[in-house]
Structure formats: C-alpha cells, structure tokens
C-alpha cells in the first residue's frame, strides 16, 4: 500500500499544526463558531446532535494493521470504545472533545492518516472498489490512480470552495462494486479496442432529494491526461454549478441541465487548454512510482481447494468468501452487521484483535467497503478455517455478506442533526425478523439500504429495497422504495406510496419479501423479479394489513 514520503508526511504535519492553531483561536474566543465552522469542516469535524463527530479519511478504503490499531487506540482514548465505518469507506468517531482533536489528528499523522477534506464543499476522500488488487475480474488495481487523485485534490487551491461537496469513486473492473453511477464523478479503468488501458469518466450521478444516474463525459481518457481531464470537469463545475440553492448545487443538477453534449463541449474546451499547458500531465515515471506501492504481495503456489469445515464454516464461505485472482487465495468479507447490532460499528477490542489476526496470517492490509463491512483482500484458503474460528470468537463472523441482513444504514436521528428519523433501530428490527439463516439463503441477494433523511447517506435510492425515514408532524415515518441498484445496472428505486410507522415498516418489508418469494421465477433475484413484474403486486401486498388503517 502507499507509504508517505517526507513530503506527504510534512504536508499532513503542517496541516495538523495549522488546525491546532485554529482550535486554540476558537477556544480563546478569537474565532466565533461561524468563523470556525468552515475550518473545522475542512478537517472532518462536525458538530452533531450531542457532541462533535470526527470523520477520518480512509483513502480508497485501505488500512494497514498499524493504522487499524491506531483507530482502536483513538476509540479507546478519546471516544467511547467504538468507531463507525461509513458508506464512503471512512470511519467516524461520535464523541471526541474539541480540545482533543488536534492530538487525535497528530496521532493519525503518526500512522500516515488524516481527516482532510472529509467534509466541506470540496473534493472529498476518494473511494475505490474494496476488492481492488484482489478481484479476479479486474483490469487494473484502481488504487494507484485513486492515490494520484488524492494528492491532486488535497487542498487544491481552486476547488476548496465549490458549490457543494464533490465525491469521486474509482473502479477497476466492469462489474461495478463502487456505485460509480451515483457519484459526482467516477473513474472507471477500461481497455480500448487496441488493448490500451485508460479511463472512462462519468459525471453527474447522485442521491439526495433529486437522484440522478451519472453519464459518460470522457469515453477514453489516456492515463497521462487523467488529472487534466478531472481538473477540467472541476473548473466547469466551479464556474457554473448553482450557488443560489443548496439543494440544487451538486454537479448532478448542472449535468442534467447542460446534458451530455454541452457538458462534453465545456469540459473539452478546458481540457484542450489544460492539457496543452502540460503541467498536469502525469509522467510515466510517476505512474510507475505510485504503481509500485500497490504491487500485490508475492502469492505462494498453493492448492486451490477450499478447506473442509462444519456447517457454520460452509455457510460463511458461501456468502463471505469471494474469488481471488490468485489460485489458493480468497477474499474474505468481515461482516459488521451482526443480527441486532449497529451496522458499521466496530469496538476498539475488535479492531485490535483484527490487527493481531492480520499479523498472525501475514495479511498486510484490510479494506473498508462502502457496504460498511471490512474485507481481508489476500487470504490463503488454507487459513480460512482458523480465521473463521477467530472471527467467530470476536463476533465478526456473521455469515450474511450480500444477504438481506447485510443492511446499510446511516447513523440517523440517534446521532445526526440532519436526520428526520432513526435508522439504526429499523435496521436492527429488520435484521432480527430475517435472522434465520436458511431463510436468508432462500431469499438470496437482497440489498436493503436505510437513510434517516432525504440526504440519502444510507443510499436508499440504490437499495433493492430502500427505506427513507421522514418526519410527519413530529412522528417518524418510513417510505419504501423498490428496484434501486448501485451496481453496473444502476437504477433509482421507485417510491411505493405512503410511509409506514416505525412499528409497521418491519412487517411491511416482510410482506414485500413474501411477495417476491411467491412471484419469483427460477434464479431470479429480488431485483430481477421487481424489474419483471413492477410495483403493483408488491404494493398490494405491502399495504395489505393497512387497508383499514387511516393515513
């Protein structure tokens, strides 16, 4: 994985010192909250319902054991013994004290981490596919270009005060595991007709109150040109993105207003000029230098057989272990979705124990997935039984990756001051209803995603079943959306109708799933059945028990 050189280290150290000064000015009263707000946000520090929340960047979701131990240390020393992994591959701490934050950032800097641009109207932490470097279907590891983008976007003087936040994702294979089409901008590694590797660039995807699927603005951008191209898109957005209405300020609104042709024209005009100047071209030596950091570990020659084990082990293999590019190796997903738990939470003890497990089995890195799970990317298959046993002891072996209880949920009204409704208790209730593993396997792939407000941090638009919490006269209601997808067949879920109360939403989801089981044809996933039959049969079933209820 990437290692800071002296320049990166100094950059982060100076940033910590700068923020320490800003915190001192705030604590002494020299800065008021209004003046301090944009400064703290640029360093990932939010003021939430009950306390400050610090969001730490995990660039492209990759962590070393040493970094994971530091996160455990921060959870223990400055927080309440846990952290929350987010849908943007970051980790959040919910209870830090303002006076401690500079020390936390200094601790992070000591392991080459930071919280720069995890908030604010700037280019946010760059995300990448969590199977990067390990997936069998990958053209190239997306992380080197993600690292190049991370450096280019760090305190970019022109793009730190954009109309609104800007999220970039990178993927290395045609199978989209990074929800590319829902990002402000996405970079997909592709091969052209003569076998050259380059980038397809998409813009204008997004969720929130007006969801859009992104479109292609650059069909094939040469490797050396990628930063010039991205800078061109950013300049078009910074000039023309709306600033009169916060809800219309994301690039998706501009992209939709301009349309693909005009957007391409404007981007190409900038690109021609920026490229000609040459200062943003990425030389081959730089690409090679960054690539070298992400060279895969040396894979041993190992038999490719899956080890035997009891039924629990087999169940875990079935859902949580994925095909690796090297024979004898596997990718293992560590579910952070225990039945009845808080999606994405991990305790300090769990993080420490995982770091130890990585050392024991010579696993050099761990990934955070946008589905709020952790991933061990390079595991010897023969080690899987021992790893499963250890994860079981830690409460981290829930065999539900990709199943109905692998629910994405935002923090919701339990923590977030933007939320209209709670998300976590709804996720817990649904998970409990479907706890039976045989039933989960019978249902198959079904992605439930829950947001506690229209901002859609829980990605409800992209859920096969999406749930949106709304506030109606001080009461929490939950709307159902069906048919969303964040994969390469991206689609925005359709709203079913009036919302359900907090005690009704769980049973309604059960009825929707029951309808699927009745309607499905051979081999169909929930999403396939929905796309074939449409909303009506699901809707009839979902509202069945509510015919006499007044709404």
């Amino acid at each position: 994985m990437y290692r800071y050189d002296e320049f990166d280290a100094k950059f982060v150290a100076e940033r910590v010192a700068q923020f320490r000064g800003q915190v001192q000015r705030r604590l002494s009263g020299e800065l008021n909250e209004d003046q301090f707000k944009p400064l703290r946000l640029m360093n990932g520090l939010y003021l939430q319902l009950h306390a400050y929340m610090l969001r730490i960047a995990v660039p492209y979701g990759t962590l070393s054991a040493r970094q994971l131990r530091m996160l455990a240390h921060i959870a223990r020393k400055y927080d309440r013994g846990y952290g929350h992994f987010t849908t943007r591959q970051n980790i959040q701490f919910n209870w830090p004290k303002l006076v401690d934050v500079p020390d936390i950032l200094a601790d992070l800097a000591s392991v080459e981490m930071h919280a720069i641009q995890t908030s604010g109207n700037c280019i946010r932490n760059v995300t990448a596919v969590h199977f990067a470097g390990a997936a069998a279907d990958e053209i190239e590891d997306p992380r080197p270009i993600a690292e190049i983008i991370r450096q280019w976007s760090s305190l970019h003087p022109e793009f730190v005060f954009l109309p609104r936040k800007f999220k970039i994702a990178v993927s290395g294979s045609a199978h989209d595991r990074a929800a590319l089409k829902f990002h402000d901008m996405a970079v997909e590694i592709v091969k052209n007709a003569i076998g050259e590797v380059g980038y397809r660039v998409l813009v204008g995807g997004g969720m929130g109150r007006t969801p859009y699927i992104g479109y292609v603005v650059g069909e094939f951008v040469a490797k050396q040109d990628i930063l010039a191209f991205l800078e061109s898109v950013m300049r078009v957005y910074n000039q023309s993105g709306r600033r009169d209405n916060i809800y219309k300020a994301r690039i998706k609104i501009l992209a939709n207003a301009l349309g693909p042709e005009e957007m391409k024209n404007q981007v190409m005009r900038e690109f021609t000029e920026i490229r000609a100047r040459g200062t943003l071209q990425v030389p081959d030596e730089e690409l090679a230098r960054i690539d070298a950091y992400f060279a895969p570990p040396e894979f041993e020659e190992l038999p490719d057989d899956m080890p035997a084990g009891d039924k629990d082990f087999q169940n875990w293999i079935k859902t949580n272990v994925h095909k690796h590019r090297a024979p004898g190796y596997a990718i293992a997903t560590i579910s952070l979705k225990p039945i009845g738990g808080v999606p994405g939470d991990a305790s300090d003890a769990q993080m420490d124990a995982l770091a130890d497990l990585m050392d024991t089995f010579a696993i050099t890195e761990i990934r955070v997935s946008h589905e709020q799970n952790l991933v061990l990317p390079h595991v010897r298959k023969r080690d899987l039984p021992a790893i499963f046993a250890r994860l079981s002891e830690l409460g981290l072996a829930t065999p539900n990756a990709g199943l109905i209880t692998d629910i994405i949920a935002c923090p919701g009204l339990d923590y977030c001051d933007l939320a209209n409704a709670r998300s976590i208790p709804i996720a817990q209730d649904i998970a409990k209803r479907f706890a039976d593993l045989d039933r989960q396997h019978d249902i198959g792939e079904l992605k439930i995603k829950i947001s506690g407000c229209i901002n859609a941090c829980g990605h409800h638009h992209a859920g096969h079943i999406g749930i949106l919490g709304v506030d109606k006269k001080g009461v929490e209601y939950y709307q159902l959306q069906l048919g969303g997808s964040g994969a390469e067949d991206a689609s925005i879920g359709d709203i079913m109708g009036p919302g359900f109360g907090e005690h009704e939403i769980g049973p309604a989801v059960e009825r929707v799933v029951k309808a699927y089981l009745m309607l499905r044809q051979d081999g169909e996933r929930f999403l396939d059945t929905y796309r074939r039959v449409g909303m009506e049969p699901f809707k009839n079933m979902a509202y069945l028990d509510q015919l006499y209820a007044a709404h």
């Binding site: 100094k10 100076e14 800003q22 910074n238 600033r243």
Partner: protein, 163 residues
C-alpha cells in the same frame, strides 16, 4: 480599505467609481463591468490606468481582448463560500495570460489567503486593522503543494523528481 501587495501595505492608486458617478479627470479608476461596457471608449481615451471590478458571477472572459488594456481586475467575494473567484483568477493568469494586478475584495477569510495567492491574486483588500503578520503567517502555514497552479510554485512532484 487597506491594500496588501508585494508583501506590504501599499497606497491604493485607484479609486472605485460608482456606476452613476462621474469619472474623475485624472488618476486610476476602477469601474464595474456594466460601466466598463457602457463607457469603454471614454475610459480608454482618458490616458489613465483602468480597472474593472467583476462580481462573482462575471467571468473575466466577458472582457474579451480588452482585458489586456486593463491595469487591474478586481474580483469580488460576496461570501467566503463563493469560490468562483479562485477559478476567475486562475483563468486570468493561465488562459488569458493577464499580467496586471488581480485583486481580491470582499468576504474572503484568513484561511483562504494561501489559495488566493496560489490561483493568481497579487493584491488584497483587507479589513481595517488587519495585521500584516497574519497575512504572512497565512502564507507560511502549508509550505508544500501538490498541484500546479497560477503561482508557478514547485509542486511536491517536482521536488520528488529533483526539479
């Protein structure tokens, strides 16, 4: 307003002329884009330095070739959140190759000064009483940069490759 340029406070050789006010007989004048368009020929004939003050939604490209007849372009920051000015300055320097003064005015923050300098501003209207030391401190906080911009500063990549 106090004006910082070239690392120190300087007297402002320009006067901002309101759209309805008469043009002074002598001396540098800064006018709005609207006024510039209306009185372009008169301004050019005055034989004194001209400046144009752009609102944050006015691209310097609207000045056309006239930009090279100007001594100063003033860019307004109506709120610190409005970051268009960073692109306008960058565009003035690297697209239009404008070599005159690019001046920032308005609600920019202490913590934006370094970005202003990087994108091509070289003059800054600051609030009364603003200490020069603060200005210089703002520029010293982050010594190295990752991106090429309008200031021509060596990037971290340049330093890595020993340039």
């Amino acid at each position: 307003m106090p004006l910082i340029k070239g690392g120190s406070f300087v007297a402002d050789p320009f006067v901002l002329i309101a759209d309805e006010a008469p043009l002074p007989d002598v001396g540098g004048a800064i006018v709005s884009l609207t006024r510039f368009r209306k009185d372009r020929d008169t301004l050019m004939a005055r034989n004194a330095p001209i400046g144009v003050r752009l609102k944050s939604d006015e691209s310097p490209e609207q000045l056309g070739d006239d930009v090279h007849r100007l001594s100063v372009v003033v860019i307004e920051f109506p709120a610190f959140r409005d970051g268009r000015g960073f692109s306008w300055a960058r565009m003035l320097r690297t697209r239009l190759n404008f070599t005159g003064e690019v001046r920032a005015t308005g609600a920019f923050l202490y913590d934006q000064i370094a970005y202003l300098v990087r994108t091509g501003f070289d003059a800054f209207e600051v609030p009364d009483g603003f200490p020069l030391a603060e200005f210089n401190r703002a520029l010293a906080e982050m010594s190295a940069v990752y991106q090429p911009s309008a200031d021509g500063k060596k990037t971290i990549r340049d330093l890595r490759s020993g340039k």
